[in-house]
Amino acid sequence: MNCTRARTEIALWAGGDLGDQETGRLERHVALCPQCREYRSRMAGSLRALQNPPPPLDANLHDSVWPQVASRLSVQSQHEAQRAERLNRWLPAAAVAAVCLAVIALTSEPEPRQQDIYGQSLPADRFTWGSPASPDDTFVRWQESTAGFGPAARPAARYELLPGVREWGQNSYSTDWRIPPLTAEELPAPEVRLRQR
């Protein structure tokens, strides 16, 4: 047994935490090692100070904390009941709304080309795709439904047409753009074909 191991065991021995067999082995080492004997003496002295007598506690251990715990548990359960009640009140409406959203999501047709062709700067909710006059052309109808009528509301007043896009027909509240068939080289990048002024 080396001294490092012996000192660990001395610390355990001093508090009564070493088995008989290990104690015998430790005794044999300590008998031959004056440093470990000195360590054992110091350890035993300090453990006596620690354990005998243990520091007293000025505690009130007679009054139970259960009344306070029970009262707080009651308050908690009241809050939980109120939360559950609120949830139950909103749950049917939330379920109906969720079903409606799911139905809308499932039945509505995706409009991927709109974003793909006209980019992010256009108000997607105000664009509707028209019927193409020819299979080679693509039409889009911009309809101002919230800004009112008059020249200021015309889309052309707020959007400039970039190369490759022609205005097809317009009135005070809607404009159709016709996009001619172009080769890949002629097509400007999707996000710059229409740009907000």
Binding site: R7, T8, E9, A11, L12, W13, A14, G15, G16, D17, L18, G19, D20, T23, E27, R42, M43, A44, S46, L47, A49, L50, Q51, P53, P54, P55, P56, L57, D58, A59, N60, L61, S64, V65, W66, Q68, V69, A70, R72, L73, Q76
Partner: protein, 215 residues
């Protein structure tokens, strides 16, 4: 020299008063919402828990508050309790962790307040009596224990002040018993060194004080 290991009765063993029901049964009933069953568990363990917490916080009211918090958490987490294990160590684990968390937060707050206070406020008044002189041995022991790092202090307090066995501490701290035994040896070694140094300093200051008086 002790010739054998301590054979204390396990302090966290399933508590079953004569004619009463065991912890496991009470836990099961409490899990099904029986408040009285949980109340019985609280009454069985509260004194022991408050004593353990007091060893760390040294404040009666605070220890009672932390014990209340512990029991509330225990109730909230009853669903997570493994009924094949003993209730006592699990409950003490929650209590000890809660207490150590509280102490860590308090330490951070104190550090911050020391940092933000002006240095002049911290200078001791030379005319005031040295408060260390009024400390009795138990307070001296406590002040030395408080200087030991938390990892070792927890084991030292639970073993040497509260008498839990190393296997119980292993269950409370959720560590292997071998780890706890190693930490216990290290904790006692650290206490021993700090205690000797403390005694030497005390002896030195007493001798200086005596010399001053003689002059």
């Amino acid at each position: 020299m002790p010739s054998e290991t301590r054979n204390d009765k396990p302090l966290t063993a399933d508590v079953r008063p004569a004619g009463g029901v065991g912890d496991a049964r009470l836990v099961e009933e409490a899990r099904h919402g029986d408040r009285d069953a949980f109340g019985e568990l609280v009454k069985r363990y509260e004194q022991r828990l408050i004593r353990v917490i007091l060893r760390f916080v040294h404040d009666d009211e605070l220890a009672r508050d932390l014990a209340q918090e512990t029991f509330l958490r225990v109730f909230e987490r009853l669903d997570q309790f493994d009924p094949s294990r003993r209730f006592g160590p699990w409950m003490f684990r929650i209590g000890v962790n809660l207490t150590l968390d509280y102490l860590r937060k308090r330490k951070r707050r104190i550090r911050w307040s020391l940092f933000s206070d002006s240095a002049g406020d911290k200078l001791p008044d030379p005319s005031a009596p040295d408060p260390r002189e009024s400390l009795d041995t138990s307070q001296e022991v406590r002040s030395v224990i408080d200087r030991i790092p938390e990892t070792y202090r927890s084991v030292l307090v639970l073993r040497d002040l509260e008498g839990f066995s190393t296997s119980e501490i292993a269950a409370i701290m959720n560590r292997k018993e071998a780890t706890i035994r190693w930490r216990l040896a290290e904790a006692r070694d650290r206490f021993q060194k700090l205690w000797i140094r403390h005694l030497e300093q005390t002896a030195g200051s007493t001798a200086n004080h005596k010399m001053d008086n003689d002059v």
